[in-house]
Point group: D4
Chain length 250, copies 8
Amino acid sequence: MWEEQLKIIIDRIKNGELSQDAALKSIKNALSGHLGFAEIDLARAVRTGFPEVVFCLNKTDEEVLKITEMLYKHNKHVLLTRVRESAAKLLKKSFPDLVYHEKSRAVTIGEPDAETGLVSVVTAGTSDIPIGEEAAVTARMMGARIRTYWDIGIAGIHRLFSKIEPLKESHVIVAVAGMDGALPGVIAGLVECPVIAVPTSIGYGTGAGGYAALMTMLNSCAPGVSVVNIDNGFGAGYTAALINKRGSAH
Amino acid sequence: MWEEQLKIIIDRIKNGELSQDAALKSIKNALSGHLGFAEIDLARAVRTGFPEVVFCLNKTDEEVLKITEMLYKHNKHVLLTRVRESAAKLLKKSFPDLVYHEKSRAVTIGEPDAETGLVSVVTAGTSDIPIGEEAAVTARMMGARIRTYWDIGIAGIHRLFSKIEPLKESHVIVAVAGMDGALPGVIAGLVECPVIAVPTSIGYGTGAGGYAALMTMLNSCAPGVSVVNIDNGFGAGYTAALINKRGSAH
Amino acid sequence: MWEEQLKIIIDRIKNGELSQDAALKSIKNALSGHLGFAEIDLARAVRTGFPEVVFCLNKTDEEVLKITEMLYKHNKHVLLTRVRESAAKLLKKSFPDLVYHEKSRAVTIGEPDAETGLVSVVTAGTSDIPIGEEAAVTARMMGARIRTYWDIGIAGIHRLFSKIEPLKESHVIVAVAGMDGALPGVIAGLVECPVIAVPTSIGYGTGAGGYAALMTMLNSCAPGVSVVNIDNGFGAGYTAALINKRGSAH
Amino acid sequence: MWEEQLKIIIDRIKNGELSQDAALKSIKNALSGHLGFAEIDLARAVRTGFPEVVFCLNKTDEEVLKITEMLYKHNKHVLLTRVRESAAKLLKKSFPDLVYHEKSRAVTIGEPDAETGLVSVVTAGTSDIPIGEEAAVTARMMGARIRTYWDIGIAGIHRLFSKIEPLKESHVIVAVAGMDGALPGVIAGLVECPVIAVPTSIGYGTGAGGYAALMTMLNSCAPGVSVVNIDNGFGAGYTAALINKRGSAH
Amino acid sequence: MWEEQLKIIIDRIKNGELSQDAALKSIKNALSGHLGFAEIDLARAVRTGFPEVVFCLNKTDEEVLKITEMLYKHNKHVLLTRVRESAAKLLKKSFPDLVYHEKSRAVTIGEPDAETGLVSVVTAGTSDIPIGEEAAVTARMMGARIRTYWDIGIAGIHRLFSKIEPLKESHVIVAVAGMDGALPGVIAGLVECPVIAVPTSIGYGTGAGGYAALMTMLNSCAPGVSVVNIDNGFGAGYTAALINKRGSAH
Amino acid sequence: MWEEQLKIIIDRIKNGELSQDAALKSIKNALSGHLGFAEIDLARAVRTGFPEVVFCLNKTDEEVLKITEMLYKHNKHVLLTRVRESAAKLLKKSFPDLVYHEKSRAVTIGEPDAETGLVSVVTAGTSDIPIGEEAAVTARMMGARIRTYWDIGIAGIHRLFSKIEPLKESHVIVAVAGMDGALPGVIAGLVECPVIAVPTSIGYGTGAGGYAALMTMLNSCAPGVSVVNIDNGFGAGYTAALINKRGSAH
Amino acid sequence: MWEEQLKIIIDRIKNGELSQDAALKSIKNALSGHLGFAEIDLARAVRTGFPEVVFCLNKTDEEVLKITEMLYKHNKHVLLTRVRESAAKLLKKSFPDLVYHEKSRAVTIGEPDAETGLVSVVTAGTSDIPIGEEAAVTARMMGARIRTYWDIGIAGIHRLFSKIEPLKESHVIVAVAGMDGALPGVIAGLVECPVIAVPTSIGYGTGAGGYAALMTMLNSCAPGVSVVNIDNGFGAGYTAALINKRGSAH
Amino acid sequence: MWEEQLKIIIDRIKNGELSQDAALKSIKNALSGHLGFAEIDLARAVRTGFPEVVFCLNKTDEEVLKITEMLYKHNKHVLLTRVRESAAKLLKKSFPDLVYHEKSRAVTIGEPDAETGLVSVVTAGTSDIPIGEEAAVTARMMGARIRTYWDIGIAGIHRLFSKIEPLKESHVIVAVAGMDGALPGVIAGLVECPVIAVPTSIGYGTGAGGYAALMTMLNSCAPGVSVVNIDNGFGAGYTAALINKRGSAH
């Protein structure tokens, strides 16, 4: 849109409708008004098939509804994260086809255009599943084919080993773990694709809050691991989908 | 090599040379001896074009030399990081063609087979260049085409904006920053590829050690950012190369 | 009042009513009694037009009421921060004209004498608005003209850019942000007035509590940024009003 | 310069020298090339009388010299902070009139155009003087009239009280303190202008690194205090000069 | 089981039922399938007399029930930790003989085969008893003879001294303490067996969360102390039982 | 009692009732039994006039009652801290004369034998009063004469100055402060007696939990300040009473 | 001196030499000039027998000499802490009778007037002796009788127990400890006088810097412990001398 | 020795040589003099075969020599840790048979009486070997049979797997790791004996100092892991030897 605005201004300059000063001001306004940037943003969503995403943690049910309605006009599908059950119920009235992903409290409206590549999402324990599910739902809505492996942490390392072969087929792996956070590093030592590590706040004592897991992941001996914020399943799924898209686009 | 060992065992079983017990023990030994696993590792290096990498920080010059000699037998090219100047000089005698990358103190022997895709490495300041160079050298040795943009931090945000168009062509961006660490998040809000953020220990006061930059990066408002350890240029370059390979392999 | 006390003592010395010892003791008492300082304080409030401010977080509704009644006798307007809804209702009975600012839970009684200069208050996200509103209400009650810009964080950096021109007219800018806290630094790189940065406790994982945002702000690459405590909208508004007053007084 | 570039483009459009496409590209280039932004920056320095500033901590003596030579072409005066003695000596050959401020290791070339308003810089102890001097030199080079008060911390609170009256004349006060960091808060309770607090890394035990002082300052009971990074005398002086300018410009 | 699988494969090779390629794949599958490892785990539980343990903190009552039912099929006794009262009541219906240990909220089903050796569990205060009880219940279910000494912290050091002689008979001591966490170090200076130290989150101010106690224990001047996570009574009891078993097995 | 036990053993040796071995064992038992130490403790309480103190935070109402009943048999007065209202009501039935100190939630039974010396307890703000009251009640029950000064923090430093003269009469001062925690240091610079500093968890942002105040106090520029745990009014009052006793006993 | 100034002013008022206005100004000046306060400080030193103390860590040898010369004019004895050997040698030329305390690097000039009361200084290990000596030298110069007990930490708790009886005679005990920092708490449980705890930065791993010891001391289960900054032997000795003076003055 | 002292006292009582009072005092002295306790300590060393150990980090070469000479009189073998090379050379003159363990800088004099049981010491990387060697030397001097496995961290997890079978024969395993610290947890999931985890300060960025490794180990998902201080190879070896002794004594 911004280009369109500039083209109009150029035409008006050509037509002598704008003095040098007025033209200067118009071009500046096109930059300042910045509707152009916003439209580019909307265009990007349509073009890439990535949904707009709403982080609902600090929003009222009504605010969530309004934003969703606005987004739905411009997007074929919408992703909402951290949705309270009451908000999900309110949305349900306007969007009867929405899916409420109970563990992660994510809401999806519409389906992704395609599911390509392969993003595997693994969790170390059952308590990490909500974050894992958030990553999986996010990546899928952004067009990734998804496989999930819950509860394959290193306390019973054989659980992991039995999954290594299928894991090796992934374009990218999201590995979610709390407590000692050792799972992503062990996986990265066994596969050849990038691993996105997600520390979770599961745990108690020194493990509470997820800092122990975060530290472990940042210090992974095996290269190929990069890390997102504690409990940030959305961010991991988003990055994984970007990587997956690269590997799948050709 | 491990497969070869197994094939020989299988043949010997077929030929009746091994009793059930002896066969069981031989297979176990093939696993336990673990020369097999090591060879698989070597095979992987040859197959993927990824060099073996030596982290030299806590090794004597002589240890560095010995490991390099061993690796060079099995690999066409070798990457060494955090190499003291004295070690580089010692290596130079045995490997006259090595390149010593002065800022990052990385040493490379041999050239990558190909340079495909595009990994862009940017730094916020001039002090971040050693880490940026480590990332660039690593990713290049792993087969990535590299572009570097030094000193384009947000204090003079126009420096960044003039590079946005070429940055958008990247398969993945490595963004290196100390102090406020805001650069990767700003970039991620402007491009569509994954951004690997590397905090650096540059800074003073609360910025010393790189924790402030790390925290900023983990909390990036813009999605698509994942983070590696402070000053871990190697890890960022390695992960970037993995992602780049995905996007370039087809 | 302290001066008055001293004048009376001086007269009594002159009149021979006080021996050297008694005079010495009287002067010391005038210092110790320190009613003088308190009166100066009250005088200052009247003179500067700054309201007395009550921080209500740990006070009972009754205590809030009593303090407000006492202050209202000496001041034309009163500002109360962090007021529970129940306290606001209790106050309403005695001060029917009070305004309860719902997001920030601030209460104002009376209007500022004038609105001069320009303090702009911006927030990165919608969750930062309560703190932003506290800053805006505080600065306005202290005589500043106010403009507010909510939700213009750097994740969608165009939202900020469209506001840069009006922001440049400010005498001082209060920039409120949680999570990566990058907004104040980006703004400071684009304007010429001082920026007061307020980290907010919005966020999760490593962003919880606002420390990540605080660290980012203290390490801002762009000069001109100074920082107040996490969630301290009042302090930011107060400092902004002091700066604004300097720039507007002539 | 950017405006000049745009004006030329506009004229060329008017003259029919540029097609719509070519015009679009030219305007984009003017933005992308970003010489425009840089020139605006230079223009700002000339217009505001603020020198360009070089932070020399991680730069070689030669790099410092080159940057200084470049800056000196466009600016009447230059400020360099954290300059090693060897670098200062090297600079001295090219800039015989430079002043080396020994405690703060700042270098100034040229004099400010004017000294207006009043920025007072105080330190709690003698160990805080290097940071205080950096703030004072910075603010002066940016056009502020300066008064300094060293070693007036609260351990001997009478030292402070004897300076309160002259301090009250300040447009803004920079208060530098290590250890308990209580000085800025005590001052803010006694004056009516904004106080910029600078924690210093002076101290030992829990005071080492300056975090204790930082925490104290962020939690100051007296409003009107804002804080910069530990040991950031430059940042405090810069912000103080911005505030001072506001109050002095009319 | 894994050995059994390998034996069958060997027989089939011998019998000519598997070609070299097929044999190679079968052996690999036996490794990848990893049912073998899982079965070994179950076997180990039966053989060692160690119960399978369920950490119930983040599981629903129904999940706890299902897991317990599954485990009970393969084990003579089951240990569950951090069991909500509601879950304990639900379990009671299916396992009427279970014991609910009220302070620690542990549930035990069945009795240990034997009680050998001696594990002494001591707590510094009464508030530490829940964690102490968890350690004691765990170690007993794993076959250890148990003695417990509650509330013998060093504030009244005579309470400890009167217990030193019986404590000296222990194979291993679990010492549980919050606040200053000094008890394990004092004990280790007086006995000759290993001491497992458990910090508890009891305390307030700097003692809240148990970090002060953890730090004290890790820095114990007396050797022979090793430490587990804050509040990890289960881990301490488990390790103590392993040590006790070593000393009692002969 | 322990001496009595030893005397009996000595007599029995003298009387030939104990062989060398039996005597050796008896003496050892006297040490191990350690009832002696406990009785000394009780004796000390009676002798010094210090009450036994019960910290009730983690005890049930019934436990509090039982302990109180036991202590009351051996002591003329009892102090209980952090008593829930329900526990206070339960105690009231058995001890109708008890006093429930509402702000600090302390309970006292009986009166101190004497009130000597002078312990002054000051708080910076009104929110610090519960901790201040706990200190005051504790010190008074241990025989100290008490003066309290609430809400004289340094934000309005004149409030403090008007109290300096009476404060100077103290044997020891307990200074309670949250947020910036600067009050004890300012007082210590003005008086000649020891100051016990108590940080409180009052505050928000970086001040939450009381760590900022603790750091300030530990780094006090003025000597004569020692510090107790955050919110530990009891500990401060106890130490103050010990110091006061020293100064008052002659 | 301040009183003298005031007396002169009073006389001049009496004599009619000063108008009301002039008198007011003169009294204010007497306060502002603050030579008065400084002199009071000097008077206090003479009266209390407390030496002026110079903290030399960040001062040049010449600065140390100048300050010492100035102080020596007004004081019978001087205490300097953290004195480099070179500074001690320089001082030796002007003050041939000074004593250089080698372990603590304290310098004393002159002897205390008297040694009364009893301050015992104990250290847990030999590495803590420098801090212990600093405390002992400080308290002695302030008039305390001193006993020292080095290396009686709890790892060999019998070393402590053999010293308990003489320790009980102390008016106050300074207990210095690094690593687990448990010594002060154990002592406080055995004596009836106040204990000043000094954490030391001795230690490694989690003990490095002294934070573990600090935490232990702040959380001491035994009441009667108050704490000073890590390595602050001077502060502990100073506070101990204040307490000792109280108990010895009568 | 203490028993001997007591026996003599008993005999003297029997012989009427000691009055009740004198006897009481003598017994007390035997306790207070505490030569008794020290002798018991020496006796324990002889009896258990555990050498006295000297931690030399903060001791001069001469102090190390004197202590060693004293210990050598009472012990057949001596262990010294963290010995500077200069101290080792000095010792060599008096103890020509000593062994200087170069990596760990430990010194041993004499040989253990026996080597029983099995303590395995493993390190994740080559940089961890100094700490591993310290553990191995310590445990061996205390009578343990030792096996060491250097550089078998999880980055190349096959290196570990090839050692699992021999590791399973251990009575206890000491697992030393820096960076992500994941090795001990992985091992504990595969063996049945206790694992003592030692974090090392190897690493950079967030891994510097060893806190990341410590956190990982404390939060190990696999039970059976207990932890010692960062870099505390001695403590781990000591605890391992205590455990090993239990399992080997019968």
